[in-house]
Each structure stands twice: as C-alpha cells, then as structure tokens.
Symmetry: C2
Subunit: 490 residues, 2 copies
C-alpha cells in the first residue's frame, strides 16, 4: 500500500476507483472499456460463482454454452430487443488479416468480408431461442431450465471498473415453459434466489420490485430487479429477472404440442447477474482504510502475520502457525500466512486492511510464551488477545458474527436512508443531499417519470410488488395506486 | 434413441458425428463453425474443469481474466505470432448497428467505425504480456503463475464438433519467470499435469514429447504436447505447453530488476487444453452402442431404472430406490433415477448406453422380494444380480474398477498399435491401413518432414524427450539421432 486512499467523504467516486486499483481487484486494459480482472478480484467473483451455481442447480437448472457470435439478422426478429441493443454492440465484419503491403504491420484483408455480419453477444436471447426451436416439440420437452456463464459485450461510452464495462462476465439463465404461470413463477423464483444470495453472501440487503416500462429489458413483458443502496446514497441494480412472455417464442417461432394436442407458443424467462456484483460488494461495505469483505466471499478469511526480530524467532513462530493453519483449514477456513521478509508488520497490517481480510492474527515471541495470539477484526477494528486453545472454533464463530455484522450495518444504513416523502421540494432536497431510497406517489405515466428524472436525476428504481396505500402523485398531483421507489443510481 | 448409430467399422467419422448429436453432447449452431454445447456435454466439460482447476491451484496458480478483444497492432509485435494467427481471426471493425433506411432490419452504422480494429482473441499472449509489463518491475514480482478460463476464436475452415470449432472454450496459463530454467521447469510441470489428468480422469494414456519446428506454437521456442491415440488409429493432440523464451517479454518490453540489480527480460511459458478434450474422450473409448464415459467424469455415474407394470409396484420400488440413492450420494456418487412413465425400460436401457452411464441398476417386483438389484456395466456389458446390502460399497469399488478397465483397454489398444518401423514401404502401408503411432528415424530436416507428410498424410506428432538409439532416416537414409513419432492426426 503505497499511499492513502482518498476519503469517501471527500470524493466517493475517486475513493472507489483508487480502491479497485490499489486492492488489486482490477484495472483498465489496453482495450477501451474492457477491464483486466486481477487474481484477487477474480477470486471474489469465483466465490460468488460457486455459490450461485449451487443455488441454480439446487433449483433444477443445468449449464450449457451458446455461441459468442450472433448473426445480425437475429436481432431484427424481436422488435424492441433490437432497439435496446443495436446501439451498443461490437460488430465482426471480417475474418482475416494480412500483411500490410507497405510493411506496416497487419491490415484487414478486404477479400475476407463476411456475407452477414456477426454481433458479439450483448445478451443471448436471440441465439438461444433460435436453438430452442429445435429442442422443443412437445410439452414433454418442457420446461427447459438452462443457465450459461459467459462474457458479453455492450459498447458503453462511459465505463467504470466492475460497474459498467464494455465486456463483462455474467450468468444468463434462459428458461422455456408450457404455461404463463410457470414462467412467471420461475421469474419470481430466480429474483428470490438473487435476493437471498445478496443477503446471505454479499451481506447486502436488497429490495425487490418490478421496473417501469421505460427501464424494462428490451424484449421483456416485465423486468424484476434487486436494488441495493450504496454508501453514497445511490442505488445499484444488482440483478434482474425478466418475464419474457411469448415474445421470443413468437420471434423465433418456437411452438410446442400441449398435453391436449394443441400447438402453442412457449413462455420464457431470462435472468442474470454479473461482475457488477463485485462493484456492489465494494461500495456497500468498504471504508477509507480499504475493502471490507464478507467472510463468505473473502479470498482469504484469515491472515497471519508473524512479529519477530531474529530468524530464530520466525522459525519458532512458523512452527506454531503451521498447527494453527491446520486447525483452521480442517474447518474449511481459508487462511494465508504472510511470512515474507521484505515488508514490516505495520506495512502488512495496512495491506490486509486494504484487501479486506476479515480477521488478522498477529503472533510474536511473547505470544509463544503465553500461548496467546492477537486478533484484529476488519469490520470493527477491534483488537483482542486470545488463548491459542480453541482458536479455530473461536474464529469460526467470529467469521459468522462478522458476516452478520456487515449485513446489519448495511441494513441499518439503508433503513436510515429510506424516506417516505409527499412533498416534491423535500424530495429534491434529499436527492441532492444525502440521497437514499425515496418512496413517493407517482401517477403511472412515462411523462412524469421522465420529468422527475430530468429535474432531479432520480429514477424509479422499482414498483413494489405488494399492494400499497393510494395517494396523489408527488409531481402531478394526479391519483396514484401506490408509492414507488425513487433514487439516483449507478 | 431414435435410430442406431452408424458402426465405427463402417464409417468412423460418421459414427462420431452421429454420436455427438444423438448423445446430446453438442450441435452445430446458426453461426458457421460455432457449436452449441448442450447440458450433457457441458457437464462433462465442467467436471474436467473442476479437476484441472484443482490441479492448477495445487501447483500455485491463480485465475484471472483478460479482455476478449486484442488491438490489431498487438499482433504485429511478435513476428512469428502474427504469421501463425492473423490468417484465422474474427475482426471487429464497428461498434454500432442502425435501422436500415429501406426498412430491412438493421445494418452496420458506417459512422461507428473503430479507429483501430479489434481482434477476437485466438489466444491471449499479446494482451497478457502487454498487461504484465505493468505488473512486473522487480524479481519480487516473479513468478507470475496465472491461468484463465475463456472462450477463444480461430476462423477454421473445416470444423467438427469439439475437435475443431471456430469458437471453443479452454484454459490458458501464462506464467512469467526470472530465469530460463524456472520457465522451462514450469513448462514441463504443466505438461506432466496434463498427462496425469489425461490418464487419471480421461482414462486416456498419452505420450509426451516436443514438436518439430513446423508444428510449433507461433511465438514459442519449444512446444511440448500430449498425444493420444483414437480408435481409428489417428492421433489427437490433446494439450500443449509452450516454452516461450523471452520472445513476448521482448515484444512487449517486459523487463525486471534482478536480485543483483540488473535489468533483464522475463522468461515465459503458456499452456492450454480445450473442449477438444471432450472429443478425445468420445473417440478414445466409445463404441457402436454409444458413449463409454470414465466414471470420474461422467455426469451421472449410476442410473436406476424401475421395472414395473402397476402404479403400486412403482411406488414400492421408488421407496426402496430412495434409500439406495441416499446411500450412494453419501459416498459422493452421482446417481439419477429415471422413473419417467412415457418410455419403456428397454428404451431407457438403450438411452443410457448411448449416454455412457457407467453403471445401470434395474429393480423390479421380484428384486423387492429377494432384496436384490440387477447391475449392468457399460464398459463390458456384464450383467449381474447383487444383494441390496452393501450395494453402495460394491458400486464405489466397481466405479474404480471401470475407470481402470477403460484406461487399460485404451492402453492396450495403443500398445497394439505402436510400431517401430525402418522401412518406408511398410511405414506407408501401416499409415494407409490400421494407422497408429509409428516410431521411425528422421533426418531432422523440415524438407523430409514435409515430403513424408505430402506422400502419406502422416506428421511428426512429437520428438521424444528421452535419448534414443541412432539410426538412418526412413525417408532420406541420412543419419538420425533418434526415432520420432509419426501418425495421421486430427
């Protein structure tokens, strides 16, 4: 850790960018908008993948893999889909390079032009539904419950590491069903899985609801989302689950023979979360000292730093540490021993605070004498000396406590920053100052939604799924069926 | 299983294509040369990934992720690299589509032309070494032991499912070292890991050696490979490990300060295996009835089929099966119970033979009375009735036996089809008829290599790493330092 981070309170955005770089999570690449995910950042994503994949499989889903490239014509088949994605896609037009006759490296070989251009997938509904057409004949072929882990490309103009990049990693589930109800149930089931994952693993409380038409996925009948609140008062959409109706089945003519012998169009859902979750994780919990990682996703849950002057002391400490490591690993705890000799303990302490390791153990000659060890919590900075006896059990419990504490803190922050507002001036003031979620009445028109957005930069994050009290639109005064949730967002 | 497969002996290539499709492993997509990996095929690849990833991590490697796109100019930096890859790459030239003014779908927006074209990665040495330049300053930053799981694209003209596709999935390791020796050791270590993986998991014995210059990876000083023999007598290169020398370090100016304070170029290795391994797995073991999967990689290791006439019998059987499943799962055995009611047992037996499930259990009313179960092995077609008692232990042992038997069979096949030949007419005859590996003397010239290839289609698969007896080139009669291994190949 070469230098201190900018403080959150000074410049939140700068703090975030510096943290991602200095904690070795990711960096910008030589390719505009594409990031390099470094080993430490990738390990967090990998831990997320393992848990999500387990949850998908436990609910009957299987993985498959569909092509990276999509023929251009596929995009035109679903009218709203092409409008949503055509503006931001990478287009492959040629399949060969050749030596520049002027000797300046390589150039595109114009004789190797594709008859039909290929689009690098921004999302895979079209290629998948063109495939499902051949897989689905009868109700016996349904449901299809398929997920893929893949990279996708959306040509974003303003990119930020993890939050918005031209290429990102994600999973996309694509399911096919015989009935509308079943497809709807699947859509909601996956939304609930995302919510549970966010709460139990990311330690982020999320709200769920349905998007307004203007924020809906291009090609969906309804888009459901999980929304999290970041520490700067801005919301972050952390995952979406789409009810696609029969839109893609109709676009690609996917029909099946029902039990009753009728030909019907198939019903669909799709749902995804991405490496954006790493950004959410950082912004929900971390502080001016660096990352605060929930133990369940931390690459290293415990780091051990030896305190010594002489080589001989290090040897004695290392011997003791070997036993401790064995005990921790026996409980499935991920532990790292940093006995590198070119950095002082103080430097290492700061480094692992920056990296967000939940528990730091320090052990020196006096600890050896007393059979003790010093333990520091990353989430509270609390330091305490523990006996070495039963240390593994102690740490196991503590990791759970830390996971819970991080969640509770994030929940309290959200509760403190959730407002029920009926006055537009107050609404604007909150949005301009502290931010947070604002539940307010809305008349249900795209016009009002747009006006509030252009005046305040706040958008409707979601419409709650539950019934609510009636009221008057905060902007137009017209009748409103229930409050909706506004916030500025990433 | 609608129809019988073409027999291997009639048309091996047709047999392979039919098997991949009818066993639900993969299919061709709407995009030329790109396949869809179906859930059953993907599950095999996923099982491979889990084991390989474990082996990589056990030897100190970590995962990361680098961009899909590579700026065109990067390719020109390593001279032989560009020659090897420029001819078969997908080129992104634009970043937007727009509505066709004539109303015919969407067209490329010519105003959204990239200043520099982007290449969809065929392999990632260039983008990774351009990144390593910023990561490596001192010997303390070395070694870097990084792997990535990714998709890559090579614009192949003749494609075959799994064996050669325009897009494929793989892992590519890219390591950086302070010394030549260390980089060489890493190259060989990874070759040995591939060999061990092939033998222990794929149940395929593989030979290892070094490629001739003409078969070397574009940019490598040396390419090491594992080579497997398929049942039609053709060899398949199943993995490669490249010693890259300082070529990419020089191309991207990656230098480090040594312990002695000198500036030196970094040494490198790269190594990869791909979804091609699924093709190898199929061709090494399967038969006219379908897949034969080694238990360690089979998505389902055991399938249970109930034999019944009345609903009541099915209920009784299912109750018993629930206990058996619990016992098997307690041992970590992957088991499937097929109680679907729209197919007869005979159909199911054929289906799971086609799918290569290592062990099939059948249980009927008489088995309930006698506390027995019928067990059929996929590898030998042996059928035997077992007591239900201790069944799980029995099956656990049997799965190991099957894994070993499949390996032994493949090893015997290779031994039976390995020849030491000194006569060119005999050489030609073997290549034309049974195929197999032929160890023969070669004068070491590219000219002879090329002539043998054009006359027989056989290539030098590898030069053995061990010393060998001297002799005379089978083609030119000139002196040869040792025998090299020839075969026709995929």
């Amino acid at each position: 850790m070469a230098k201190k981070l900018t403080k959150q309170s000074e410049n939140y955005s700068k703090w975030y960018n510096e943290l991602v770089i200095s904690a070795d999570l990711a960096e910008n690449s030589a390719v505009r908008g594409s990031m390099v995910i470094k080993p430490y950042g990738f390990s967090i994503w990998d831990n997320m993948k393992i848990e999500l994949d387990r949850m998908f499989k436990a609910t009957g889903h299987v993985n498959a893999y569909f092509p990276l490239f999509i023929p251009k014509s596929f995009f035109s088949k679903e009218a709203s889909h092409v409008d949503g994605f055509a503006k931001e896609c990478a287009v492959v037009t040629h399949y060969r390079l050749k030596n520049d006759p002027n000797g300046k490296g390589v150039i595109v070989d114009e004789t190797a032009k594709l008859e039909e251009e290929l689009i690098v997938r921004p999302t895979s509904e079209t290629i998948i539904w063109s495939t499902y057409k051949n897989w689905i004949q009868s109700y016996r072929d349904l449901p299809l419950l398929i997920n893929q882990w893949a990279n996708v490309v959306r040509w974003e103009m303003r990119t930020r590491l993890f939050l918005r990049t031209a290429e990102f990693l994600w999973q996309e589930g694509h399911t096919a069903h015989a009935t509308k109800n079943e497809a709807l149930e699947e859509t909601i089931q996956m939304l609930n899985i995302y919510q549970k994952f966010a709460q139990d693993f990311l330690a982020i409380p999320v709200l769920t609801g349905v998007k307004t038409e203007s924020e809906r996925f291009a090609g969906a009948d309804d888009t459901y989302c999980i929304e999290a609140l970041m520490q700067d008062g801005k919301a972050l959409q952390a995952g979406t689950s789409h009810f696609l109706g029969q839109n893609f089945a109709k676009a690609f003519d996917v029909q099946f023979q029902s039990k009753e012998g009728k030909r019907e169009y198939v019903w669909a859902s799709s749902w995804g979360v991405s490496t954006r979750l790493v950004g959410a994780l950082i912004m929900a919990h971390s502080d001016d000292k660096g990352l605060v990682l929930p133990p369940k996703l931390a690459p290293d849950q415990v780091v051990i730093v030896p305190i010594y002057r002489k080589e001989e002391q290090l040897n004695q400490i290392s011997e003791k540490v070997a036993t401790i490591i064995k005990e921790l690993q026996a409980k499935g705890i991920r532990v790292k021993y940093d006995n590198s000799d070119h950095q002082k303990p103080g430097w290492k302490f700061a480094e692992y605070e920056l990296k967000g390791v939940p528990i730091r153990l320090a052990i020196g000659p006096r600890d050896l004498e007393n059979n003790t060890i010093e333990l520091a919590r990353r989430d509270t900075f609390e330091k305490k000396t523990y006996p070495q006896e039963n240390l593994a059990t102690e740490i196991e419990n503590l990791l759970e406590e830390i996971q819970q504490n991080i969640y509770d803190k994030a929940l309290k922050f959200r509760e403190d920053n959730t407002h029920y507002i009926d006055d537009y001036q107050k609404f604007k003031k909150i949005i301009e100052t502290t931010g947070g979620f604002i539940y307010a009445h809305w008349d249900g028109t795209a016009e009002t939604e747009e006006k509030i957005k252009s005046e305040t930069k706040a958008t409707i994050r979601f419409i709650p799924m539950e019934d609510g009290e009636q009221g008057k639109c905060i902007y137009s005064g017209k009748p409103s069926a229930k409050r909706v949730c506004f916030a500025k967002s990433y």
